[in-house]
């Protein structure tokens, strides 16, 4: 009996014989030429490992990594190290949420369905929009799906994307759009690092997409986007950050048509980048063209409130090649985790997370500028993340390597001399002060830039 199989081979043989079947004939239907005859594959262990052996092997691998809770890290660029409240793991670890599947049978899935309904409600409240789906793979695929939605709605085949979008997201959009035979035009940022004044004109655009806060952390004014999109009969799309929405105007508040993004900052662990959880919300008029599962409220035969998967005529299992997307599932468990994060924090807690992150980023940026070693890349207000340029040249790769020796994971080097640094509410003043002193010392006294 191997691994987790609960019935022994002897019992299996006996069961099969009781209904006139034989164990050794189970796979007779497979043609001989393609049957595996020699199992000596080198990539696989011959015998299964015990639980203790698995723990030993995996722990060994995990310990070969350097991690952000033991190092002082300044990485962001799409994934942020916010604090995960203890409650979340306990709740999403419950097997009722963890091991169930897409709630096809509403009567035994009211937990998942209500959790999705609450997620949709929170997303609408944060983004200020009317309809949210049950989630999508990640922020990048959500951006691609948002623009495909714009193309479906407007029946146009070209979109415009600001270069302020995370490059990983832009790459994903390009991949999706190339496959779909649709065009993506990319607009460079202005000299202040925003999309203002960079929008194109023309009535052949299905949608205009900007990110706010953008890749350089700068908070965009979405009103210009909305105006320009309306003038060109295109949909306005914003890839946004849910935590920042505790402080800033929401997309819905200024009339944006579609909001999308990554909900990982809501207490989802970094996990080397995945799994992630994308969100997608839109105005009412786009409801029946949305991709992905959607939960709705209804009543049962006795008039009690009930939740179901609804508007399924959009979906692949009904519409096949005419579906709004091929997406089958959602990231329900992570959407539930994010929902619980919002329930635990409330508006006051979320605002505190946002304000502390912003305040600490502003503090760190000021301190680094004060060293005289860096200058601003863009002079615009930012949230949680900012870009700095080395004043006297040199290689940030060398600096980052040296920082590692001091147990610091530096910012992301966007080029030889441009550094993208992110901090969250988790970062202490002391850590930032030490970091600034270290950086200054390495550059001034140890000349690590090599410039």
């Amino acid at each position: 009996m191997s691994g987790y199989i609960p019935i022994s081979r002897e019992k299996r043989t006996e069961l099969l014989e009781s209904v006139g079947l034989k164990l050794e004939n189970l796979f007779d239907i497979i043609p001989d030429e393609i049957k595996i005859k020699n199992m000596n594959f080198s990539g696989l262990n011959a015998q299964g490992l015990s639980e203790q052996e698995i723990i030993a092997q995996l722990t060994n691998l995990a310990e070969r990594n350097q991690r952000v809770d033991q190092y002082d890290s300044y990485l962001g660029a799409g994934f942020y190290d916010h604090y995960t409240p203890a409650v979340i793991d306990h709740l999403i670890g419950r097997q009722e949420f963890l091991t169930s599947y897409t709630p096809y049978q509403a009567e035994m899935s009211q937990g998942t369905l209500q959790a999705i309904f609450e997620w949709q409600s929170y997303i609408c409240r944060l983004t200020g929009l009317d309809v949210s789906n049950s989630s999508i793979y990640d922020g990048a695929s959500a951006a691609a799906e948002a623009l495909l939605l714009a193309c479906r709605q407007t029946k146009k085949s070209k979109v415009w994307v600001s270069e302020g979008l995370n490059p990983e997201y832009l790459a994903t959009i390009k991949t999706y759009f190339h496959a779909a035979g649709l065009a993506v035009e990319v607009g460079a940022l202005n000299e202040q690092g925003t999309a203002a004044g960079t929008y194109p004109s023309g009535d052949d655009y299905a949608g205009f997409l900007i990110q706010s806060p953008n890749f350089f952390g700068i908070v965009e004014d979405m009103r210009a986007l909305v105006k320009k999109a309306e003038q060109n009969q295109a949909l306005s799309v914003v890839s946004c950050d849910l935590i920042s929405l505790a402080m800033f105007r929401s997309p819905g508040e200024v009339g944006v048509d579609i909001a999308c993004g990554e909900a990982q900052p809501l207490g989802i662990p970094l996990n080397f980048g995945g799994p992630a959880v994308g969100f997608l919300a839109a105005k009412q008029k786009l409801m029946r063209k949305m991709p992905g599962r959607i939960a709705g409220q209804t009543t049962d035969t006795e008039g009690k409130i009930a939740y179901v998967l609804t508007l399924q005529a959009r979906e692949q299992h009904i519409r096949r090649e005419k579906a709004t997307s091929n997406i089958c599932t959602s990231q329900a468990l992570l959407a539930t985790a994010a929902t619980i994060y919002l329930a635990l924090n409330g508006s006051s807690g979320l605002k505190e997370v946002a304000e502390q992150s912003a305040a600490k980023a502003i503090y760190l940026q000021g301190k680094l500028i004060q060293t005289g070693l860096f200058e601003l890349v863009y002079n615009k207000p930012f949230f949680r993340e900012f870009a700095l340029k080395l004043k006297y040249g040199g290689s940030l790769d060398l600096l980052n390597k040296k920082l590692l020796e001091h147990r610091v994971i530096g910012g992301l080097a966007l080029s030889d001399d441009i550094w993208l640094l992110a901090v969250t509410e988790k970062k202490s003043k002391k850590a930032m002060d030490d970091f600034v002193t270290l950086v200054s010392n390495l550059i001034r006294n140890e000349n690590v830039l090599g410039g």
């Binding site: 987790y4 199989i5 609960p6 019935i7 009781s18 209904v19 079947l21 189970l26 497979i30 043609p31 990539g43 696989l44 015998q47 490992l49 698995i54 092997q57 995996l58 060994n60 995990a62 310990e63 809770d69 190092y71 190290d81 409240p85 097997q95 169930s100 599947y101 096809y104 049978q105 509403a106 009567e107 009211q110 209500q114 309904f117 609450e118 949709q120 409240r125 990048a140 990983e168 994903t172 991949t175 496959a179 908070v219 800033f248 105007r249 662990p269 080397f272 995945g274 799994p275 209804t298 179901v308 299992h317 579906a323 599932t329 635990l344 508006s347 807690g349 605002k351 305040a359 509410e425």
Partner: protein, 488 residues
């Protein structure tokens, strides 16, 4: 038992909780209105209730009790492979050394992660008979799209722009045609024959030089093995097309046969099905895609590579891939799901995986024989890991439909099978007990199916009103779609 029905937004608020979870801010908060300007700042109050920890815990704990999970009882949802999700794998995925790594860390600081992914790629290559795997796709359908994009890129690289047709059997999962359509392919449907297998004569008629490829599930969605698979892949290859294997049913063939040996060029796996990672109420799963060498240039970026530089970074991420399709999501994939997959495969090894498929098929065969006299069995070919039965007899004689039987199973404490799929079988019930079903689970399911068939004769109303003791009775789905209430 009385079930709680309120929403989180209905609970009475308990006041400001800004510093219940977070320590007090240790830098001075600037005047944000001055720093950002009023125009950027939120003008409306954020309508999100402030609650206490115990309120939140009770709310979601009670909510969870309205769900049914694999640890509650048998969950024979066909094509979804609802097997046991090993607990230790959850612990492993949550090891701080994995959990607290950022996707953009320098490669020399994440050698443990990259080693794991590299080893997992070798494991999957061996299990599926492929040459390379990418871990970027986040789900099965996402894997399909990724694989189809690579097929498209392959033909484009050959200057073969006229190959616009994807062949797909009429029994296929809905995601197959939907994924192909997202890559601009025109769908040409292949008929199933009276045995429930691909009609090879129909396939021959529909193959021409416009064909880019075929998408196939084997065993197919009827749970039947396509024994002509080599002829099928041979025909498609001879016409210049490529062959895509939908791995949703891979649990049936583990270490018995391999898609790579059947002639497939691209494979996706649903690790949440075959390798026991949790389904999470719909996700996160992962849909790694395996390919043969000819498609290697088109893999999504980055690709994990082993180097000779053993002093620091033994494994690197290679972004220099000019022919790559690009990216299908940010970063390298659903890493922690891959950790669980790796732990699962280690627990079995190659001998054990052969027993997984053996147990999966034996359980399905046994259960089918136990219920064969109670329900119409549309096909006579031997079932693999799942089987399809129908309510045709019950519908004709007693007006009882598949939905009624499914809902009555809930009363017996079981999750219903997949219903009304595949679409080519009226009143279909697709039953997949999986390799981890227990003896009492199998016997109980068989007894319940048979008892319900008797109830359909004696008391059809009992079925039509089922389920009887759940938090809700049958919901009004028409009302939900006509007057959508999608948020509170």
């Amino acid at each position: 038992m009385k079930y709680q029905t309120n929403l989180i937004f209905d609970l009475p608020e308990t006041g400001d909780n800004a510093n219940r979870i977070l320590r007090k801010c240790d830098v001075i908060k600037p005047n944000f209105a001055e720093f950002y300007g009023e125009d950027l700042l939120r003008q409306e109050d954020l309508d999100i209730p402030n609650l206490s920890e115990i309120q939140v815990l009770r709310h979601y704990t009670n909510m969870s009790s309205k769900n049914f999970g694999v640890e509650n009882g048998p969950y024979p949802l066909g094509s979804c492979t609802m097997k046991y999700n090993p607990k230790v794998n959850e612990n492993m995925a949550n090891l701080p050394g994995f959990r607290n790594t950022h996707p953009l860390q320098p490669v020399e600081t994440v050698q443990g992660n990259l080693t794991l992914l590299y080893n997992l790629e070798q494991q999957l290559n061996d299990i599926l008979g492929m040459d390379y795997f990418t871990f970027q796709p986040s789900a099965g359908a996402h894997g399909e799209l990724t694989g189809i994009m690579m097929i498209k890129a392959y033909h484009e690289a050959n200057g073969d722009f006229a190959r616009k047709v994807m062949l797909i059997p009429d029994s296929a999962h809905g995601t197959n045609p939907a994924s192909a359509a997202m890559a601009e392919f025109e769908i040409r449907e292949i008929k199933s024959n009276t045995d429930g297998l691909i009609d090879v004569a129909d396939l021959k008629q529909k193959i021409d030089d416009k064909v880019a490829g075929i998408m196939l599930t084997n065993p197919n969605t009827l749970g039947l093995f396509e024994k002509d698979v080599q002829e099928i892949t041979g025909l498609v290859h001879a016409a210049g097309g490529l062959c895509y294997y939908d791995g949703a049913n891979a649990n049936a063939i583990l270490m018995q046969t391999r898609p790579g040996d059947m002639g497939f060029d691209v494979v996706h796996l649903n690790v949440h099905k075959t390798f026991g990672t949790p389904h999470g109420g719909g996700g996160p799963g992962a849909g790694p895609v395996g390919i043969k060498k000819i498609l290697e240039p088109f893999l999504p970026k980055p690709v994990i590579k082993k180097t000779d530089n053993s002093n620091r970074a033994k494994f690197i991420l290679d972004y220099d891939r000019p022919q790559s399709i690009g990216k299908v999501r940010a970063f390298t994939g659903s890493f922690s799901v891959c950790v669980k997959t790796y732990a699962y495969i280690l627990a079995y090894g190659r001998q054990g995986l052969a027993e997984v498929s053996e147990a999966a098929v034996a359980n399905a065969r046994y259960l089918l024989e136990r219920v064969r006299n109670s329900y119409h069995v549309p096909y006579n070919e031997p079932a693999m890991h799942e089987f399809v039965i129908t309510a045709a007899w019950q519908k004709e004689k007693y007006g009882v439909i598949t939905t009624d039987i499914a809902k009555r199973l809930i009363d017996y404490g079981y999750h219903p099978p997949t219903v009304y799929f595949p679409l080519i079988v009226p009143e279909a019930m697709m039953v997949e007990p999986t390799d981890t079903e227990t003896l009492e689970g199998l016997e109980g399911l068989a007894d319940a199916f048979n008892a319900i068939a008797e109830e359909a004769v004696e008391n059809p109303e009992l079925l039509k009103n089922a389920p009887h003791d759940k938090p809700i009775t049958r919901p009004d789905e028409t009302k939900a779609a006509r007057n959508p209430i999608l948020k509170a």
